[in-house]
Amino acid sequence: MLRLLVRKLLRMAASLLGVTLIVFLLMRAIPGNPWANYATTPRFTLGVASDTGFQRELVRRYGLDLPAWRQFTRYVFGDVDDNGVLFCGAVCGNLGPSIQRRGPSVQQILFEAPEDRTVLESRFGYTLRMVLFGALFAIGLGVPLGALSATRPRSALSRVISVGLAGLVSVPNFILGLIAILVLGVWLRVTTVVPDWGKPGNWIAPVIVLAAVPMASIARVTHAALVNILSEDYVRTARAKGLSRDKVMMRHVFRPALAPIITFLGPLSMEMLAGSLIVEGLYGFPGFGRSFFTAVLELDYPMILGLTVVYASGILIINLLVEVACELIDPRLRAGRPQRAQQ
């Protein structure tokens, strides 16, 4: 068991390195450089170097004149700086200096909270809390809804739920967000333009907008998992030998249904992280959801790589936890057997 866990951790680290390499190669293939691209420079001055000596100094300072492989190892493992001192790279948690936010390093931008506040008030903390609340909402509402429609077939309620869910998964969250702003902000006037994020009430609208589509997805997954198990022969046997409905549900249905539902937590968190881009943009939320996209547009190389490391480690850790949880629930998975296909 321990050996298996160590192997999984090693694979995780390898995946992290792999995705960093892929993102590194992709971002270097984007035309332009941090000081001349269409997001940072007016279009008509594109390609017109303002001061070549100055720019060369900037390029040298951020190590962009090194060969590509050395830039990569410099970022990941570390290198010698101008004074001949060895510094450690991303493996030590040093995510590098941000090029566009001259001054602070990437880890400061992401994890440092304002004076005398906890890490919960940092950009990372805000997004983490938002995604966490969203996940709680999605699971807390989605699982019961899915269970309700699976166990009450051919009822009006189940029909309404299933069509409603099919509709909800089809709405992009930016449209939901626009509707929410229109209704809450413009018509009812309950939200303000620049909300105070210290008040829990202001979190409701963004969290629901972020979690609505994942909620529908998880309800559909729950429904499918339960229907699969409810039509198994052993459920009928359990019922036939006289076990009460509730007992069958608890013992024989929900337990095996847990594995596919938990497995879905991986894609769920992915969906929420991608959704935080839109929702945070719509509500002016002080998280880091938009940072990746602005960083890509501005070609802030260390920022892109730093966010890649943060996102990928988060998702890989969630997937690892999901895998371990599934193995704890279902002993058949422990032997390294293939998992059942999930939609």
Partner: protein
């Protein structure tokens, strides 16, 4: 193809609704040049920001020539909506087919070969899925965008490549698992002992047996592509190019919403139109996938 519950599907109202909507949208996409009243790119600053034709009371009465009004560059919204439909349909069909091709091949190889190939391919799947796909897509779109001329074909091509590069992984995983389950069955063993080449076994014995997984995935993924395109368009890096807050280049639903956001107060149709299009198209495919894939079978009473 007996794996599909055709009969039950044919009796379901949802399936017919989905098929009807898809048929209409495909017709709109196919007939775009003939039914679109104006050139979607033709701008005219004398006729900008016109309200819809039925709004007559305002300072600027709507014109029958522009049924849904014009945007701030004076381009006909109805035409842009129709051309956006074509973009969405073409994009969905090509991007998903390409991704399905790569995904099915990778999944079959990983599932059938096993051993080191399987280990490495699974590692690749894990690696590619450790970031939300849209992040890779943004970078791929940016790489191609500056080099290519801003024509409709190039824009669609960029998105197709971007989506196919990340979209295939989820199918590959599904196909891999199904292949593993099928390759231990006696008929595959028989084919191997008769001396069938790996290619023969993959294409003749395994592919037909995982085809239902692929079809269901394709129908499930088409809405995802449409939503992704809309999302990219909304952020301003999709098929459209964002320059100074306005877009030029290729019309798409997401781009329409992107540019219509700022004119929400004077002509909300620029946002409502594409939103309804996205909702209808996605929902039809979701309903269709439900009925074919048995993912959303009716519940069971115990």
């Amino acid at each position: 193809m007996s794996l599909f519950p055709w009969r039950r599907a044919a009796r379901s109202g949802r399936v017919w609704f989905g098929l009807a909507v898809i048929l209409v949208l495909f017709l709109v996409a196919a007939l775009t040049p003939w039914i679109s009243p104006h050139d979607p790119y033709a701008s005219s600053f004398t006729q900008s920001r016109l309200p819809p034709a039925w709004v007559q009371g305002g300072p600027e009465p709507g014109m029958a020539e522009f049924p849904l009004g014009t945007d701030r560059a004076g381009r006909d919204i109805l035409s842009r909506l129709i051309h956006g439909t074509r973009t969405a349909v073409v994009l969905a069909l090509t991007a998903v087919s390409l991704a399905a091709l790569i995904g099915a091949l990778m999944g079959l190889v990983a599932g059938y070969m096993g051993g080191a190939a399987d280990t490495w391919l699974t590692f690749l799947f894990d690696t590619l899925q450790s970031l939300p796909g849209i992040m890779f897509m943004v970078m791929i779109v940016l790489i191609f965008r500056d080099g290519l001329a801003p024509t409709w074909v190039n824009g669609v091509l960029t998105l197709v490549v971007g989506f196919a590069a990340v979209g295939w992984v989820s199918l590959a995983r599904l196909v891999r698992v199904s292949t593993q389950q099928i390759k231990v069955r006696p008929f595959v063993e028989a084919a191997v002992s008769l001396g069938g080449s790996p290619w023969h076994i993959l294409s003749r014995h395994l592919l037909p047996n995982v085809s239902h997984v692929i079809v269901v995935w394709v129908i499930n993924t088409i809405p995802a592509v449409i939503l992704l395109e809309a999302l990219l368009g909304y952020v301003g890096i999709g098929v459209t190019r964002a320059v100074d807050g306005d877009e030029f280049g290729i019309v798409s639903w997401g781009g329409l919403i992107f540019s219509g956001r700022s004119s929400l107060s004077f002509n909300p149709l620029m946002v409502i139109g594409p939103s309804v299009g996205i909702l209808l198209m996605t929902m039809s495919f979701v309903l269709l996938a439900d009925s074919l894939g048995e993912g959303q079978r009716q519940g069971v009473e115990i």
